[in-house]
């Protein structure tokens, strides 16, 4: 379990758990009724999936910058690729550039099949402790 995610109230609200293999975290958002955004389909709220992606990226960046208290997002872009069904969601992030001040991260979220992602994220994080 990522010690960081365990410490963040919103990650706990979403029920996130994580698993680390080597340097790579896989974060799971277990299905819960309170994640439903569209009761008619039913489908997960896009905001919950976006938050999972963002927190996965935060945790992955934190692993690469152990001296940083908390990576701060500069911007995030989420593309919603498929409807989030009422089952667990998993996510994994990859740091494409680990700069001195800024890190660029790509992340994907999927349900049963990793090759069929339900959403993807592109984000920049500020990783310099005393920067803006």
């Amino acid at each position: 379990m990522s010690a960081l995610l365990d410490r963040l109230p919103y990650a706990r609200f979403l029920g996130l758990t994580s698993h680390q293999e080597g340097d790579v975290l896989t974060v799971t958002m277990p299905f819960a009724d309170r994640l439903i955004g569209n009761p008619m389909l039913p489908a997960l709220h896009g905001g919950a999936t976006a938050a999972l992606l963002e927190l996965t990226a935060v945790a992955q960046v934190a692993l690469s910058y152990p001296r940083l208290r908390l990576p701060r997002p500069i911007n995030v872009t989420v593309a919603y690729l498929r409807t989030g069904r009422p089952v667990d969601v998993r996510a994994r992030a990859r740091i494409s550039k680990a700069g001195r001040r800024v890190a660029h991260v790509l992340a994907e979220a999927w349900q049963d099949d990793e090759a069929q992602p339900i959403a993807s994220l592109t984000a920049h994080f500020l990783v310099a402790e005393h920067d803006l």
Binding site: Y10, G47, A51, V58, T77, V78, A79
Partner: protein, 145 residues
């Protein structure tokens, strides 16, 4: 101007789903084509336990949701829509232990896509915590993705 039928639905559309209810989202107000919703500060929605600031992911969810309301206002009816993509710029940290408000406006509606801008702030959209640009697919129509 949105019809009274849609306006009367706004509180339900703002907080009626399980997720928005769990997050405490509430309809705030409608002025012309600009709609506002609010999320009251709560300990379990915090992103940084050392500062008490609401989570970035929550701000994203709030902006995504208020953008959807702006689309229904532009359509002047409720119909199924789906967020296609959403970009959020975080301009500054939110103030600790303060409610957040989000305002959105749908500035262009085509046959199948709605284009939206949205802002999150404590007091005024002139001093935003975050700004978003989002597109939504009008999935009730033929051209759905």
């Amino acid at each position: 101007m949105a019809s009274s039928t849609l306006v009367s639905l706004l509180p339900q559309l703002a907080s009626g789903a399980a997720h928005t209810h769990a997050l405490g989202f509430a309809f705030d107000r409608l002025e012309g084509d600009r709609v506002r919703i609010r999320v009251p500060w709560r300990e379990d929605l915090v992103g940084d336990p050392d500062t008490g600031v609401l989570a970035g992911g929550l701000v994203t969810a709030l902006l995504d949701h208020v953008g959807g309301l702006a689309v229904w206002i532009a359509l002047d009816r409720f119909e199924p829509i789906a967020t296609l993509d959403l970009r959020v710029d975080y301009m500054r940290a939110a103030q600790p232990r303060r409610d957040l408000v989000a305002e959105a406006r749908c500035y262009r509606l085509t046959h199948s896509i709605a284009f939206v801008r949205a802002w999150a702030f404590e007091d005024s959209p002139d001093d935003p915590v975050a700004a978003a640009q989002a597109t939504y697919v009008l999935s009730g129509r033929e051209a759905a993705k």
